[in-house]
């Protein structure tokens, strides 16, 4: 039996709506879904829902969006709707396209505020490295970018458990040795060997983009984007009053256009930070998949929290119990007079391995050995 054209069209619209909500559902998933619908009882709405969840590969973190769209778009009869409980609310919060990032992320503001007298781009490296982020002009950014990519090369150091062929020393690889020996009439002239592969570091970065962090955000993000060029597995999140995963917006291309894209695509937040709630959201939706014992979790924030302190403590405990290392980078720490007395900071500190400043490139440079896998 082939499904009616109507069903296929309906499904295509449904998949389109899912994609608009940031749920990955590709053409092959749609094909699976059509095939699945021919096998189930399509007059049973719950069965259709179950089959679509299975065939469209809906992950738990997308389940809220899926249920909501299913309710809205998959023609329902009222009595059925009344019989069922309301689906859980979308946990990620609706995406609001078309909004802009805080001024510091989009760049224009920084340009206007720039007060440096140096010729941008020609600053000696040493000077550039110590320049606080809030005094940098966007032109310094290009120079920093080059410097950062040099630094980031030092990142990949950890050896994987996987064995790859090597010309140097390592474990004997009988298969390749034997293969070579056949060519020489069964004599083993040279033993082929394998050694442990070099692995890329795993890094998850959670970056505070609230008002109190504004001057730093753009440069931190630029640093993180350069980092991602070298450590492709790096996951980026921004948080403020809610949490947004930036990774989908980030491509491996140039940094300036990516920042523009971020500014255009990420919802705007204003007002205070809710570190606790944002980190708790991260723990629920993403931590299982993104954090393991090899992962370094980096949190950029000044710790000025206006949210729930208990949530912050719970989230930090959960992250600490799972991650290989937890780094908290605080731009205020660059000021010698600063003491971490902010309420959120004091709560988070016991769960942090490294508490370091992040106010200029020199301080970030010191971080690199800590980020290496």
């Amino acid at each position: 039996m082939t499904p009616g054209r109507d069903l296929v069209g309906h499904l295509a619209r449904f998949a389109e709506a899912l994609r608009e909500r940031g749920v990955r559902a590709g053409l092959s998933d749609e094909i699976d879904a059509v095939a699945a619908l021919t096998l189930v009882d399509i007059s049973d709405r719950e069965e259709v829902r179950r089959a679509l969840r299975i065939a469209l590969k809906i992950r738990p973190r997308d389940a809220g969006a899926f249920d909501e769209l299913f309710e809205r778009l998959w023609g329902s009869r009222d009595e059925e709707r009344a019989a069922r409980n309301r689906p859980p609310k979308d946990r990620r919060g609706p995406a609001r396209p078309g909004k802009v990032l805080p001024a510091a992320l989009s760049g224009q503001e920084v340009e206007r505020e720039s007060v440096t007298g140096d010729t941008p781009g020609y600053s000696p490296e040493a000077l550039l490295r110590r320049k606080p982020f809030d005094e940098c002009s966007p032109a310094d950014l290009a120079a920093m970018e080059r410097l950062i990519s040099k630094l980031a090369l030092r990142l990949a150091t950890r050896r994987s458990r996987r064995l790859v062929p090597t010309r140097g020393r390592g474990r004997v690889d009988p298969r390749r040795s034997f293969r070579a020996a056949v060519a020489t009439d069964g004599e083993f002239l040279r033993l082929a060997r394998r050694a442990r592969a070099i692995e890329l570091p795993r890094i998850v970065v959670l970056c505070d983009t609230s008002g109190s962090m504004d001057p730093h955000s753009r440069f931190l993000l630029a640093f993180l984007l350069s980092l991602r060029k070298e450590a492709r597995g790096t996951e980026l999140f921004a948080f403020n009053t809610s949490l947004v995963r930036l990774t989908p917006w980030v491509s491996s291309g140039r940094i300036a256009p990516t920042l523009e894209r971020l500014a255009a695509g990420v919802p705007d937040w204003s007002g205070g930070t809710r570190i606790g709630e944002s980190l708790a959201r991260f723990v629920i939706d993403y931590m299982d998949e993104m954090v393991n014992r090899r992962t370094t979790v980096v949190i950029f924030s000044d710790g000025l929290d206006r949210g729930d302190v208990a949530a912050l403590e719970g989230a930090m405990r959960a992250i600490r119990s799972r991650a290989g290392r937890v780094l908290w980078l605080n731009p205020l720490l660059g000021d010698p007079r600063y003491e971490p007395t902010a309420r959120g900071m004091a709560i988070a500190l016991p769960f942090v391995d490294v508490f370091a400043p992040a106010h200029n490139l020199e301080s970030l440079e010191k971080l690199l050995p800590l980020l290496a896998a």
Binding site: D29, D32, L39, I54, F178
Partner: protein, 300 residues
């Protein structure tokens, strides 16, 4: 509900697996569409068990590939039997065979050690169930390799040529979500996320798996775990823990829960030091009281 799905559900239940409609639907669709089924969920919700039950249900062999970091093709697919090859080479030399004759002997199926994936593809007696357990533990590179095997069900051995599947196996992959499974692999599969069971289902699981547990005890255990999972825990107990605990309580000849017993045996359920410390005292007493209930039957 479609008749075939209902009968799948009943068949699963006959073989000792209490399946929700979503699980039965997924198993049914995976069988009908001949697609691998990727199952995710917290530890102990019964992911691996689905593959085992499926093998019993289809009355076929279960071939298991346990994934781990550093798992390579030699362990997953095949390996040449090197000592045997060496022996053959020496023998061939003594008998004066030509190098090409020797090569033909040493690179034959007889010198090949079958590993789970190859075994699953070359099984002659009918399609087996191939369980690829904890696929999230293997490296990304292995995942890419798996993709190739799962899309074509054929394996190319350079020395031998391409081996095509005699019967396409039923494939079940499980993941604990310690790493995000790549999109490409996910697309090849159907996807099932298993939640912790509902109260009613959990009680039925206890009754099925631990028949010696009294009805009252089963219901109390179910209610206790249900309430326990409702609070913030670092490691939420799975069904596996429930069954362990029920068995422990049966061994202790308990007919119901009381605070002292729960305190002594809570280690069967909570396996994290912080959780054990947090769930204690008045809170534990409240949970036990809630579990004892007012003699009400365990509702759905």
């Amino acid at each position: 509900m479609k008749e075939e799905i209902r009968s799948t559900q009943e068949a699963l239940e006959r073989h000792g697996y209490i399946a929700e409609p979503s699980i039965a639907t997924a198993v049914f669709l995976a069988r009908e569409m001949r697609k691998p089924l990727l199952i995710e969920g917290d530890a102990g919700v019964g992911k691996t068990e689905i593959a085992k039950v499926l093998a019993r249900l289809l009355d076929t062999e279960l071939i298991r590939l346990q994934c781990y970091e550093g798992l390579d093709v030699q362990t997953a697919l095949y390996e040449w039997d090197y000592p045997r090859q060496m022996l053959r080479v020496r023998m061939g030399e003594q008998e004066g065979q030509s190098p090409s004759e020797i090569e033909q002997v040493i690179y034959s199926r007889g010198s090949l050690l079958e590993r789970p994936l190859l075994r699953a593809i070359t099984r002659r007696e009918g399609p087996p169930v191939l369980l690829i357990d904890e696929v999230d533990r293997a490296d990304d590179g292995f995942e890419a390799f798996l993709l190739e095997v799962l899309s074509d069900f054929q394996i190319t051995i350079p020395e031998l040529g391409t081996l095509r599947a005699e019967h396409v196996p039923y494939v079940v992959l499980t993941s604990n979500r310690s790493r995000e499974i790549g999109d490409a692999l996910r697309r090849r599969c159907l996807y099932l996320y298993i939640e912790h069971p509902s109260l009613e289902k959990e009680v039925r699981i206890i009754r099925t798996r631990v028949p010696a547990a009294s009805e009252r005890l089963s219901e109390q255990i179910g209610r206790f775990l249900h309430a326990l999972r409702g609070r913030r825990l670092l490691k939420a107990p799975g069904v596996a823990e429930t069954i362990d605990w029920a068995q422990a309580l049966v061994r202790l000849h308990r007919e119901g829960l009381d605070l002292e017993t729960v305190e002594q045996t809570l280690g069967c359920v909570l396996k994290d030091h912080n959780d054990l410390r947090d769930v204690a005292g008045a809170e534990l007493a409240a949970l036990v009281e809630q579990a004892q209930g007012a003699g009400a039957a365990a509702g759905g």
